[in-house]
Symmetry: C2
Subunit: 236 residues, 2 copies
DNA sequence: ACAAAAGTGTTCGCTTTACACCCATGT
DNA sequence: ACATGGGTGTAAAGCGAACACTTTTGT
């Protein structure tokens, strides 16, 4: 039996959200067959680091960004051919960042990192299109049964932002079902969970009545979860 | 930068079900530090095979079994230390087999393969206990939103078998909620999906009224799925 | 005053739940 | 005849869906 000659890499698909737009972080490749092609941040795992460490390191090195949520997505092991001399297996992660980090510093190597609107991604290197597809499915699914939307918002946000986030990310789904999020029902539902606390801040943007800001209470959520509570927002 | 020295392996957690019992397939290790310890079937991925091929091959070689359902579970990459000379990353898969395959042939290397009742697993090698834990969570979760229970039953089965399967696998969950599956409601629900077809066979086992056999119509399910149908059985 | 966004309750229909008796066979 | 498991309907409650007007600010 020949010695195993497979390399292991990680790839990150990092989502950001701002002003009713979902963004994906991409890196321009500098070398190799895919030179000047956009790709997801990622790279080979070092011998001494864990997989999540590797992902975080790559995202930091390539874009100067720290994610606020990270979750393993899937391991793509059948077709990736990154390096002609060796087979590569890639463990893909989904990351979320809050809007403060959406502006990229031009430090380090970050010149070639850029946020792209999810609608309107360029052609991607390797099999990254497949990863993106799986990632958006996961994001959409998780949005309906886990409170991860908050990781894409500022720590304190008006209710309408949360609502708009759901509308944006689930747009395709809602369209297919010919449904729309009902503002009142959505708010009622979320508030009934008791995982949001209202701050005493009120924010006014342009015209219209100013909005009260809310904060997600992670701790409260974890408590409730232990008691058997399930976050769930349905669209049927 | 030192050359990457990480090996990639696959592990399979294969579930079987029979007579209100959930089983897990285990292999007795023949060599190494874990000699004579039970472990999940698995091993290193060959250079030329895909991950799923690797899993299927290992399960075949080590237990002479072919699974009827296979799904990637998770990639465990942070702590596995299988071989003292190299780090090992393991991609775990969940497999399901129907009851016909629950009797192991004594051919090939299968002498050291054995089905263990899920309640009552021995101490496992490596980090396999962690894999088992994640796998049962996945199995329980999927049971409620995907029609995978059928892969654990014979192609034609009485309704009570399906019901008992759910009761068995979700026992912990039902206990925690102090709920029980209602026979009538369960049946009504499942039948309302229109993914079961009744056969004209009637099966009599011991005493009691004989039961009509049903068959899962995979094709019908796929059609419905395309139209936006979601299989779902709740326990709240 | 008007435009723009935030905030708020009620009714209706459907889905889920709870619940008990008869049926067909083996012994 | 009795024991065993299979098969069936209905009523009440709870939840999700639909829906419109008032409030507060900017211009």
């Amino acid at each position: 039996m020949k010695a195993q000659n497979i390399k292991i890499a990680v790839d990150a698909i990092v989502f950001g959200y701002e002003k009713a737009q979902l963004y994906v972080l991409l890196i321009k490749q500098k070398y190799g067959v895919f030179k000047d092609t956009w790709s997801l941040p990622g790279g080979f795992v070092l011998n001494e680091e864990s997989l999540t460490e590797a992902v975080k390191r790559e995202v930091r090195e390539e874009a100067g960004i720290t994610v606020s949520y990270l979750e393993q997505l899937y391991t793509f092991g059948d077709e990736v051919q990154r390096d002609p001399r060796a087979r590569v297996i890639s463990v893909a992660y989904v990351g979320l960042v809050n809007p403060e980090k959406l502006t990229l510093q031009a430090d380090t190597d970050a010149q070639d990192a850029q946020w792209f609107p999810f609608q309107g991604l360029p052609t991607l290197a390797y099999d990254h299109a497949k990863i993106v597809e799986k990632a958006i499915e996961r994001l959409q699914a998780k949005l309906s049964y886990q409170p991860i939307g908050f990781d894409l918002l500022k720590p304190e946000f008006p209710f309408s932002d949360l609502e708009q986030l759901y509308k944006t990310i689930l747009a395709k789904e809602l369209e297919r079902l010919e449904k729309d999020l009902d503002r009142r029902n959505f708010r009622k539902k979320i508030l009934s969970f008791g995982i949001l606390e209202e701050t005493d801040k009120i924010q006014s943007i342009g015209s219209g009545r100013p909005a009260r800001l809310y904060r997600f209470n992670q701790q409260k959520y974890k408590e409730l979860e232990k008691e058997g509570f399930h976050f769930e927002i349905k669209f049927a």
